[in-house]
């Protein structure tokens, strides 16, 4: 065996299992071969011991979903080992764009009119109004510099921490994640103050002064 050769796999024991550092310059096949060998050498004899979590650090190597699957299967095939995480420094452009879209603030200058739907992946900064019958949807938060008189849906993909803020808050409907609230059937006075909507501890949408968000949602500062 070529034990003396430079090793592609370094195994470290930590308090929460094993961390495997996998070399990112060798070929994938060489890596798999050595991993198989090292794990077999160190494999405990009994198969009924407690499960040990394995964390993979793959450095600057990009793993396809298929390769990730192969690694997981290989490790699970050894007694008592199970992959808990795979950590790579690289992601695909597609994933990067997706990430960017989900975290960026999209500013749009327009009036969203009756029948129109404006949908963004990240936060929405609307420089204009949402008229009755118009809809704005965001994966993140919604900030409206004008009047909200239509429908706003923040946290569209399930984020319950998302908020909706508007200079004039007179919505037909507010939705955050899967929680919905609708305008009262009576006419309310127009307040002269920017307001915000968020989900409170009772899982209800409440509308209140904008300034409360500083305490309620400190993560809004980025």
């Amino acid at each position: 065996m070529n034990r003396q050769k430079q090793s592609y796999v370094t195994i470290k024991g930590t308090k929460d299992g094993l961390t495997l550092h996998l070399d990112d310059t060798c070929s994938y096949d060489d890596l798999i071969a050595e991993l198989e060998e090292k794990l077999t050498v160190n494999e405990p004899k009994e198969s009924d011991g407690p499960l040990v979590s394995v964390h993979l650090k793959v450095g600057n190597r990009y793993l396809t979903p298929k390769q990730e699957e192969e690694l997981r299967a290989l490790i699970r095939g050894k007694n008592n080992l199970v992959v808990q995480s795979i950590d790579s420094n690289v992601i695909t452009k597609e994933e990067a764009l997706q990430w960017k879209r989900k975290t960026e603030i999209v500013s749009v200058s327009k009036i969203v009119r009756s029948g129109q739907v404006l949908h963004v992946q990240g936060d929405l900064l609307l420089i204009g109004d949402v008229n009755p019958g118009g809809t704005v949807i965001a994966g993140g938060n919604i900030f409206i510099l004008g009047a909200l008189r239509g429908i706003a849906h923040a946290g569209y993909y399930g984020n319950k921490d998302a908020v909706i803020a508007a200079s004039i808050m007179k919505p037909m409907q507010l939705r955050i994640s899967d929680v919905m609230s609708r305008a009262p059937d009576y006419k309310t006075d127009e307040r002269n103050e920017m307001e915000c909507a968020y989900i409170d501890d009772d899982n209800q949408i409440v509308v209140d002064r904008l300034q409360l968000l500083t305490h309620l949602r400190p993560n809004l500062s980025r």
Binding site: R113, S114, G115, D129, N131, P132, G133, G134
Partner: protein
């Protein structure tokens, strides 16, 4: 080369046909060559309001389907000397008898001969609407001071803004009744303009003389003494690019609204 203006609203019965007839006639009174096109196929009535019903021989569908030339189908308004014409809608066919491409070509051809081609649009946002806007360079959105009419106007403005060949639409608020605004039963002008945020081209009072005139086939604008007539003439002048301030009659109303609004917001 003339300009084609579509008159539209979304909601029916708010005054598209009345506006087309009166603004068209007013433009002719100001010396322009005008052609009115009725695209409300199956429900034509621009010819009735203009008093030209009895002279129709061919219609828009005949032209599009090649049964006659445009010139043959145009009905001349005898009150003018070669200045005002109407291309009537077909009464028998339905809206699918014409395509947007055909309308575009037709309007293009009319623009060679006329300063203004005014296109009366049917209600709704389907085929009839698409036909009416296909050849237009500009748009007038008509609404009344009612929530449902304003909502539909908003929808239409959204659709018009997507049409790159059409200039930003302008607004006409029709059938304003002072006492209903006073009672809070109607929206006021400022509220509507702020809400729709497009330019206001004019306002017209609710006036039973408008209905009487239409029934007689004599657009109200031909009677210079009526309030509505002056409003329509002002709209025509604004279309020609004149900056006509809200006319005393209109102003008086607007001042009244402003005052009422103040009274309300004080409480």
């Amino acid at each position: 080369m003339g300009e084609a203006i579509v008159i539209t609203s979304g909601k029916g019965g708010v005054g598209k046909t009345t506006t087309t007839a009166n603004v068209g006639t007013a433009l002719a009174l100001l010396g322009k060559r005008v052609c009115l096109v009725d695209t409300d196929i199956g429900l034509r009535n621009l010819d009735v309001v203009m008093g030209l019903e009895n002279r129709i021989i061919y219609d828009l569908v005949d032209v599009v389907e090649g049964r006659c030339t445009i010139q043959k189908a145009l009905v001349k308004d005898k009150r003018f000397d070669d200045q005002l014409y109407l291309l009537p809608a077909a009464q028998t066919s339905d809206k699918t008898a014409v395509t947007p491409e055909q309308m575009k070509r037709l309007v293009e051809e009319l623009k060679q001969d006329y300063d203004y081609v005014l296109i009366d649009c049917p209600a709704g946002i389907e085929q009839g609407y698409k036909n009416a806007v296909a050849g237009a360079d500009a748009a007038i959105v008509v609404t009344t001071p009612e929530v449902s009419a304003v909502r539909d106007a908003d929808r239409i403005i959204g659709l018009l803004e997507k049409e790159e060949h059409i200039k930003p639409p302008r607004l006409v608020i029709n059938r304003i009744r002072g006492h209903m605004v006073k009672n809070g039963d109607m929206l006021d002008i400022d509220e509507i303009v702020m809400h729709l945020s497009i330019d206001l081209l004019g306002i017209i009072a609710d006036d039973e003389n408008v209905i009487k005139a239409s029934n007689n086939g004599e657009p109200i604008v031909l009677d210079p003494s009526s309030r509505a007539s002056i409003s329509y003439r002002n709209i025509a002048r604004r279309i020609l690019g004149e900056s006509v301030p809200l006319q005393p009659l209109e102003e008086e109303q607007k001042g009244l609204f402003a005052k009422i609004k103040k009274l309300f917001s004080v409480r």
